[in-house]
Amino acid sequence: YSHFGGRPTWRTTSLTYRILGYTPDMAEADVDTAIRRAFKVWSDVTPLTFSRIYEGTADIQISFGAGVHGDFYPFDGPHGTLAHAFAPGNSIGGDAHFDEDETWTAGSAGYNLFLVAAHEFGHSLGLSHSGDRSALMYPTYSYIDPARFRLPQDDVDGIQALYGASPNPVPTTPQATTPTTTVSTTTTTTSSPINPSICDPTLVFDAITTLRGEILFFKDSSFWRRVPTIKEVYNYPISTSWPSLPSGIQAAYENPETDQIFLFKGSKYWALQGFDILPNYPKNIDKLGFPRTVKHINAAVYLQSTQKTYFFAGEQYWSYDEARKTMDKESPRRIEDDFPGIGKKVHAVFEDNGLLYFFSGHKQFEFNMKSKKVTRTLKNTSWLGC
């Protein structure tokens, strides 16, 4: 790691930030989330706290601009320079500017705002570029799934050399929190921390999918949302997030290439982008190539390595080629034959870090597609801090 010349730092640990404007590339709520999480990367390992203000001048002013944008460092159009930030100090010091000519996203297409913002805020706090290729402060952008993001040790050492360590280190495993009563009626705030009932060992999930680095666990009329960067799990009624969706979602999967998730119930399925249901849905599953004998899907998962989606129904599975938009000719095949050890039926499945996690009844199996073997048997609720 390295620090700026003269080692400029903030003299207070309570810093403020203000988002001066938004990029049209992303929903404002997604920008807010990306920025909040990017600050949390640093507050987790230092005594620093970051509070958002909506008026006046914050320590760290955040803006999007293209080309010449009010400092002496004009941006250069798409790609090239993505963003820059200034070392701690008065006036422009600490401010972070993002090139509006880039395509900003909450996913893997374009440039992930969370990843770039976390890097820029490192500058805002006094870190210069690191020569460690694995460091967040390495100057070139490379995508990593935000859900799997952990601040590399080089960056931890660099920032703690300036501000010291956090008095309350963040635990490395999710912690269950006390249940609270849900009272809000808005979509974005109607949630409650994890209810201990989710730790019931007999719980069987209806469906599970990833969503932009998070993991959603569906059960009856609600879903649990696991946000790895804040290490908490919250419960949301399906009806408040997606009023037009039914309860009892039976299968779900994410296609990160298109930044879409698909939810299935009965013979119908819906496509969503983030939390927005796309027009012209629901559609019938026969559009995907299923025979009429298939009445519903039990589970689905998209494999990035092959660009195929596996649909599990009864004791069989179908392989759908997302690139060609057709069902593979060899489908259906018996689950038992190609996924030995996971049982005859699948209730839910998702992919994480190249491994498949199958939920069958009360059991969860970690499955390696390359070796075609179950590598671990886990508790159904292992992802939820139980």
């Binding site: 010349g5 993505l82 770039v116 500058h123």
Partner: protein
């Protein structure tokens, strides 16, 4: 400038490299005459950049160096002013 293999877009690459080194490695273009030195300022800055990124330090604008220059990156200079 150091010798580089002749390619069709050599001029464009050199221009890109020059802009890059000016922006991130303080390569000066202040009008002072280039004196006879072992390495040109361009080559020295190129070596600085190659060393920072762990590339082979040749002082020449090779394909790996160019590839690194084309990568999307943060606009803060690697060398403190």
């Amino acid at each position: 400038f150091p010798a580089v293999p002749a390619t069709e877009d050599r001029g464009e690459n050199e221009q890109l490299a020059e802009e890059y080194l000016k922006k991130f490695y303080n390569l000066n273009e202040d009008g002072t005459p280039i004196t006879r030195k072992k390495h040109s300022p361009f080559s020295e800055k190129l070596q600085e950049m190659q060393a920072f990124f762990g590339l082979e330090v040749t002082g020449k604008l090779d394909s790996n160096t160019l590839e690194m220059m084309h990568k999307p990156r943060c606009g803060v200079a690697d060398v403190a002013e």
